[in-house]
Amino acid sequence: MRLLAAAILLFALVLPAQAERLVTMVSRDEVAITSSFSGETLTLFGNIEPEAGSTQKYVEGPYHIIVVVTGPWQDRVARLSQPVFGIWMNTQQVLFKAFPSYYHVLSSAVLTDITSEATLDELDILPADQAALAAQPGKGDPKVLGTELIRLMTEQGHVGVNPTGVVFRSDTFYAAQVSLPSDIPTGPFLAHTYLFKNGALIAERSEGFTVRKIGFERFLGQASTGQPLLYGLVCVALALFTGWLGGVVFRR
């Protein structure tokens, strides 16, 4: 038995036909948020090629791609509100620690057509898997509240599963459109690409990009956290000045 396993392993190592690699790229590695920012679309594209150094000239599909785009982590709570003596109050609350603030799964086909559910579970690709990973024990059912958290974030456009998000332009070249809404959190993003062939994962690759404020918006964001007292004083001074100016301009 062990001999057989070793033989298979050896066979897999020397077999050049299975050696594909992914070459991926994001259209921009930095998304700048300026005063007129109202969301943006990035293109993620890639090509499937023979492994570097192999003698193979071309690769043969059919291939499937799953791209998972993950935004910076946040601690989030989901709550259930129920009537208690006639007044609605939050009765259940579950904390999801280090949950992605943005989580989109783009694929070239319906996920269960690409690979088995066991593989999807193992890779934690579905948003529900992420919720299960992040849920902390608390007052409430983590499974139900996790599902509801995913639903709320999907309505907001921060979570999504799109089985037509990856489009093959040729047998080996694909492109995926990643749409970032206007209320996108800032920070590091990760686009993880999985390459599947006949239901098996054969290659994967990560690309990062950053969403950050630039110019005046960046200055304000930094001032509010770096110099909060000064920032507050400036806010008050601005308010007093605006109020005074309004009184002067409109005085008759």
């Binding site: 948020i33 300026t34 005063s35 007129s36 920012f37 109202s38 969301g39 910076p72 982590w73 946040q74 601690d75 989030r76 709570v77 989901a78 709550r79 259930l80 509100s81 009537p83 007044i87 609605w88 109050m89 939050n90 609350q93 904390l95 620690k97 280090a98 949950f99 603030s101 992040a134 509801e148 958290l149 639903r151 709320l152 974030m153 206007s182 209320d183 959190p185 800032t186 918006e217 304000l220 964001g221 509010s224 956290t225 909060p228 007292l229 920032y231 507050g232 400036v234 806010c235 008050v236 601005l238 308010a239 007093l240 605006t242 109020g243 005074w244 309004g246 009184g247 409109f250 005085r251």
Partner: protein, 310 residues
């Protein structure tokens, strides 16, 4: 035209922000209140995160109250001595309010307390104002001359120890009720994100028996000072004051307030009070509705912090 709000981390329409600032400013100029109790729920409903809405509206209330306070000051209608006591105690109350705000947020009952707080506060104040103004309107219809209450009638708590002479208001009363009033206003105001002008004005008239010509100016100055302090507290504590959001609201608010003030000249005092009572009751009903009938979606979510490594 979209404008990106760097602290709220979302972009909103500039004209919408200036517009709601102007509309609420118009009402605040008309009725002589800060308008925070309208603006905060409006912003939350438009998708601004609740902490950012509460903190940024405090900045807007400062601006909206400043021009009014200045014009009353020029006319000599502010009792600075009384305002000093009110401001000092209300800033203390604001510390308590901001701390309670943070504590409630962490146990997840902030929404409920804000809803119930608005319901009880606005409901009772609105009902009282409504009864009082409808009575005044009916009396005027019937041709009865309404005699203003004498300002110098004393209550039992005016005679408590630590009496102080307030020259401008022609009062010689204990400072204890003044300080308690300031503490309560500071606590409620910072907890609910409102200036508290609509509580302070009746309290000064009916509890402290302050003369009518001093009430509005003193209340406005107190709101400016207390909300300035609350803005700084929020900026330091939760870092959720969005200066761009506040500025858009301020610009609309100060312009709207001027138009509101001139429109107010065409309405009589009791009619104005009846309209304000209607408005206050409407907001109270809105909050009561969500607490008793329940939200449209029983599930909700909130970001409670930046995530570290899991």
């Amino acid at each position: 035209m979209q404008i990106y709000l760097p602290i709220a981390e979302l972009s909103m329409n500039l004209f919408f922000l200036v517009g709601i600032g102007g509309a609420v400013g118009f009402l605040s100029g008309l009725f002589g209140v800060g308008g925070g109790f309208l603006l905060t729920p409006l912003l939350i409903f438009s998708g601004v995160p609740a902490p950012v809405a509460v903190a940024s509206v405090t900045g807007q209330v400062v601006a909206a109250s400043t021009s009014g306070a200045l014009s009353y000051y020029r006319r000599g209608q502010i009792d600075l001595h009384m305002a000093l006591y009110l401001v000092l105690s209300s800033v203390l109350g604001a510390f308590g309010g901001v701390a309670t705000f943070a504590a409630l947020r962490s146990i997840g009952q902030l929404d409920l307390v804000i809803s119930l707080g608005f319901l009880v506060l606005l409901g009772s104040v609105g009902t009282l104002m409504m009864i009082e103004s409808v009575r005044a309107i009916l009396k005027r219809r019937a041709g009865i001359v309404v005699r203003e209450k004498l300002p110098n009638q004393h209550n039992w708590f005016h005679g408590l120890p630590m009496r102080v002479r307030f020259k401008k208001s022609r009062l010689y009363i204990s400072v204890l009720p003044v300080l308690v009033l300031g503490l309560c206003i500071g606590f409620i105001g910072s907890l609910l994100g409102i200036g508290g002008g609509f509580i302070l004005v009746p309290a000064l008239v009916y509890i402290l028996r302050m003369p009518g010509n001093m009430v509005i100016g003193t209340s406005l100055l107190q709101v400016v000072a207390m909300m300035s302090a609350t803005t700084i507290l929020h900026a330091v504590n939760s870092q959720s004051v969005d200066i761009l959001l506040a500025f858009c609201l301020m610009v609309g608010g100060t312009v709207g307030a001027q138009f509101g003030a001139s429109a107010g000249k065409y309405l009589r005092g009791e009619q104005l009070r009846a309209l304000l009572a209607l408005l206050v009751l409407a907001v109270a009903v809105r909050f009561g509705f969500s607490a008793i009938v329940g939200p449209s979606d029983p599930y909700s979510m909130a970001v409670v912090g930046l995530g570290g490594v899991p």
